[in-house]
């Protein structure tokens, strides 16, 4: 029987990151991926020959800079482009864009409100402050605050002291950032509805929260978490991997193999082998058994425990707790191949921000309604639609002069209140979205060479993520940090000895994809090291 130091189940970006770090530390590593392509939710495909497009994600995934440099991914062919942050269309036929350059961004805001151009200064300051406070929490386990150890108590008391010593104004700012809704928070800085809708939709796209839901404001930090976000006075840059997110997976795969790790695709794990309460290996769909000292699961929490184990092997009450972890898809994906570049009437020619993506017109009210509809299981009537034309920044993804259009449709429920997603309902959604796109880009229908829609259940069945939830669990605060997925599991260990979690279901979740893999790998490497 084959034997390895560590087996990683699932070849998403976190699994690949974990495998690369472990291989780099000298462990004998085997990564098993069910599908033919690596990348999990970030895999690409050819929608028609020659047109490459991210199949499930919009195509804006990236990796934290520390991981790129520690794994030397540039040597494995990974390159990033930094472009302006994108454009939102407005209902009145106008648009609002995000520019990296401070002076240009200021003037863009001033087109909508001169006051807001100044409001940006303080907003940017507070975002960068918030991101600075958040960043150190991402590169490691949170620790289990419920543990009854002396060291936990000491750590918590120290934290309490540190917080108590903070200036009350600073504490208040933090409390506002972490508890307010996007709309309430933005009201403190901005007056223009266009500016507020632009920032709120940037923040909340891909989450279940509406702009008026408390605790949504913290998502505004999203783009500022990147360490270089403060480099210019303008909006944070959109970072795009050349070749799309699949190129990140390829580079990580190359790094795994360069360090002697092995990768097997089309190798579905169906069971985890247990002995004496610990995981000893895995069983593949074809019946093959492979042993390892450590198993890392890049599958989501529910799939890991509810699909790979007999429930009787799990502690009392554990299955129920896993069941309570909320995973509900929020996004559908529409992939389109175009025979020429899409044109958007509202946006002036040559606008560099188009490279960073395009969002169709929305308002805070519409987003709020869409979010409510999502919770009620109603297909969105006015969904939030994000588009990216990856071929604008990277023409190699399609034949010369042709393009691919990647469309993410947000606030799309996974389960419908009155039934299931049928082909017919999928077509209705497609028609609605294409209609909306055509309003902004009238000639688009005639340019479509191919089109494919994936609803959350489609994503679930292909990628295996429960609920088709690309963030591996809702990102509300009761499921973040030490609550992701629970205090006892947030440290990457599980009740099953030798089994570790490394997906976005564990801290820090989608805050810097790859962090969970890197953090879990560091822990496993130290265990493997101790065992010699």
């Amino acid at each position: 029987m084959e034997r390895h130091d560590a087996i990683i189940i699932g070849g998403g970006l976190n699994g690949l990151t974990a495998a690369a770090y472990l291989a780099r530390s000298g462990a004998r590593v085997l990564l098993l991926e069910r599908n033919a392509a690596l990348g999990g939710a970030d895999a690409s495909y050819e929608i028609v020959p020659g047109f490459t497009i991210p199949r499930y994600s919009l195509g804006t995934s990236t990796l934290p800079a520390r991981i790129v440099s520690e794994l030397d991914l540039a040597r494995h062919g990974l390159r990033f482009l930094r472009v302006d942050g994108g454009v939102s269309l407005l209902e009145d036929g106008g648009y609002i864009a995000s520019y990296r350059d401070g002076a240009i961004h200021r003037r863009e805001l001033a087109r909508h409100s001169l006051k807001d151009a100044d409001g940006w200064t303080r907003f940017r300051r507070d975002m960068l402050r918030g991101a600075q406070q958040l960043r150190p929490l991402l590169a490691g386990a949170t620790g289990d605050p419920t543990r009854r150890s002396f060291s936990t108590l000491r750590r918590l008391l120290k934290t309490a002291s540190r917080w108590g010593e903070k200036d009350v104004g600073e504490l208040h700012d933090l409390t506002r950032l972490w508890t307010l809704s996007c709309a309430d928070f933005l009201d403190d800085y901005f007056r223009s509805d266009a500016v507020k809708a632009r920032l709120a939709s940037d923040a909340l796209a891909g989450t279940s929260l509406g702009p008026r839901a408390p605790t949504g404001a913290r998502h505004l930090l999203g783009a500022f978490i990147d360490e270089t976000a403060g480099a210019s006075g303008g909006a944070p840059a959109r970072v795009l991997a050349i070749g799309g997110p699949a190129a990140i997976a390829r580079a990580l795969g190359a790094a795994v193999e360069a360090h002697g790790g092995m990768i097997r695709t089309e190798a579905e794990v169906t069971d985890v082998l247990l002995r004496e309460g610990g995981a000893r290996g895995v069983v593949l769909a074809n019946g093959e058994e492979i042993q390892a000292s450590a198993i890392l699961s890049d599958l989501d929490l529910k799939r890991t425990f509810l699909a790979l184990f007999p429930w009787s092997a799990l502690p009392d009450g554990f299955v129920e707790r896993v069941g309570r972890f909320r995973m509900r898809g929020v996004s559908a994906k529409i992939n389109i191949a175009l025979d020429s570049a899409p044109e958007f009437q509202a946006v002036p020619e040559g606008c560099p921000a188009l490279l960073g993506g395009m969002r169709l017109a929305t308002t805070l009210d519409k987003m709020d309604r869409a979010s409510d509809d999502w919770r009620d299981g109603i297909p969105p009537r006015a969904p939030l639609i994000d588009m990216l034309v990856p071929t604008l920044a990277d023409p190699t993804l399609a034949p010369h002069g042709r393009h691919v259009l990647s469309v993410a449709v947000h606030y799309v429920p996974e389960t419908l209140h009155d039934g299931v997603w049928t082909g017919e309902r999928r077509d209705e959604l497609t028609d609605l979205v294409v209609e909306r796109i055509a309003e902004a880009s009238p000639g688009i229908r005639d340019r479509i060479v191919a089109l494919e829609t994936l609803t959350p259940p489609d994503i679930e069945s292909e990628v295996g993520i429960t609920g088709g939830d690309l963030s591996h669990g809702e990102t509300t605060l009761d499921q973040m940090f030490f609550n992701r997925p629970s205090p006892a599991l947030a440290g990457y260990e599980t009740p099953i000895r030798n089994l570790y979690l490394c997906s976005q279901s564990v801290h820090p979740g989608p805050l810097g994809v790859g962090n969970a893999g890197a953090n879990a790998a560091a822990l496993v490497a130290s265990f493997l090291g101790k065992r010699g």
């Binding site: 001033a110 087109r111 409100s113 100044d118 300051r125 266009a194």
Partner: protein, 442 residues
């Protein structure tokens, strides 16, 4: 234009108060809550609908006039406007400033018109100084803080009339000005684009203006200001300017500005007038020791690290803070801060070194204690002058500035001894003279 504009915000007052306002009839627009844009997009407007990625830097109304004087074709970006760095040579321009009359286009500076029944009370609460003492046709240097006592910005405040003021600053502050306007009947407009500004500085400045038709300009006291009619052009002249010289700043309609520029050249030729650029403006303020927002200090809303924000005491602006007058934003915080040691100081340094230097570290006993934020070589003194931020505890004793130089493809690091200056390096005696001299014998 999209969205609402907030060039002006009227008052937020309790219902009923607006109706009772005694002078509401005189200021009918005060009662309007909606804002109006007062920008001519054909001029050098912020709020044009032109996509901002197109023209990265805008031009001032004096651009063609200034360009005609440029023999270097050396330009820089000042607040988003094309501004000459150096027009002829810094040495020549410096001589003009100290011995004749230096003319500069300062239109990119930020200007706000603040008017209305409560304008005075509003400004008195905004800035740390006592605005109630400011007379009509008078200016004062001001600094304004947020609640915690950290400086938001600084500049000059002009009182144009009973309920009309102009605030001139280096950076834009509309958001803070409007947020502070709550509860006051006041109207705030960004008039940066609708007001051109010229600076005429040097011992012959009064003589040039006199020749150009500014009658009795010599009687204007420092920080005094007055309207003049120059061949039908209304020009507001103030005896202000951050150069340490006798000098004036002229405020007028953008359309008239090129004409006044030409006239000053015409009438000022015999007094040695010459156009000067941004580099000279910087050098002059460094010689006087005036810190510039965004360069020598960061405004409270810009500083990402709270430690980078400054109190007025740390900027050497304690004289602008009146803790015993009426209430102003940050007063309680500044009362407390005054009892405490400042964390850092903005200091002026003299370096005996002949070459220009860039940003570099201030060191003491080998440790880095601060940073040089601006510097320039003073011809008059033959030394490099620098402004920098220094840790307070390090502001005594022997300092040095570590400078990296490129020599071919090598880096050479020099440690240059630095002297702390406690007085402005240069202040012309004419700065305070009244009447100002009208003859060219300086």
């Amino acid at each position: 234009m999209n969205g609402e504009s907030d060039m002006a915000l009227a008052e937020q007052v309790e219902p009923g108060e607006a109706a009772e306002a005694p002078d509401a009839a005189e200021h009918p627009d005060l009662d309007r809550l909606e804002a109006t844009a007062e920008v001519d997009p054909d001029l050098f407007a912020h709020a044009s609908d032109e996509p901002p990625f197109g023209r990265r830097v805008l031009t001032t109304p004096l651009h063609l006039s200034v360009a005609a004087e440029s023999s270097t074709n050396l330009w820089t970006d000042w607040n988003g406007y094309t501004t000459p760095e150096i027009l002829t040579s810094l040495d020549d321009e410096y001589r003009v400033l100290r011995h004749a009359a230096a003319l500069g286009d300062i239109s990119p500076i930020v200007k706000y018109r603040i008017s209305g029944r409560d304008a005075g009370a509003y400004l008195d609460r905004l800035v740390t100084g006592n605005v109630m003492q400011l007379s009509v046709d008078e200016a004062m240097p001001v600094v304004f803080c947020e609640d915690r006592g950290f400086v938001v910005g600084d500049g000059h405040l002009f009182r144009l009339g009973e309920g009309e003021y102009r605030l001139v600053t280096e950076e834009t502050h509309l958001a803070w000005l409007l947020d502070s306007a709550l509860g006051f009947q006041v109207r705030i407009e960004d008039v940066s684009a609708t007001l051109a500004a010229l600076s005429l500085q040097g011992p012959h400045a009064a003589a040039v203006l006199n020749a150009a038709g500014f009658c009795e300009i010599e009687t204007l006291r420092p920080y005094g200001a007055r309207w003049f009619d120059i061949s039908g052009m209304p020009v507001y002249a103030s005896r202000t300017g951050a150069t340490g010289e006798l000098g004036y700043e002229l405020w007028l309609d953008p359309e008239d500005a090129p004409m006044l520029w030409a006239r000053l050249f015409d009438k000022g030729a015999e007094f040695g007038i010459a156009a000067t650029g941004f580099a000279l403006r910087e050098l002059a303020r460094i010689e006087v020791g005036i810190p510039r927002a965004g360069c020598d200090y960061l405004g409270a809303f810009t500083a990402v690290d709270p430690a980078d924000a400054s109190t007025p005491f740390e900027l050497g602006l304690a004289s602008l803070v009146d803790l015993d007058g009426g209430h102003f934003t940050g007063r309680e915080a500044l009362r407390r801060l005054k009892q405490r040691e400042p964390r850092h100081l903005v200091v002026a340094l003299a370096l005996d070194f002949p070459e220009p230097i860039q940003f570099c570290a201030i060191e003491r006993d080998g440790g880095i204690e601060g940073i040089v934020t601006s510097s320039g070589f003073s011809q008059a003194l033959g030394v490099n002058l620098a402004l920098g931020r220094l840790r307070y505890a390090a502001s005594v004793g022997a300092l040095a500035v570590g400078v990296d130089f490129r020599e071919g493809l090598r880096v050479r690091r020099l440690k240059i001894p630095a002297r702390l200056l406690t007085e402005p390096a240069i202040i012309s005696p004419l700065r305070h003279t009244v009447p100002a001299p009208l003859l060219a014998d300086y």
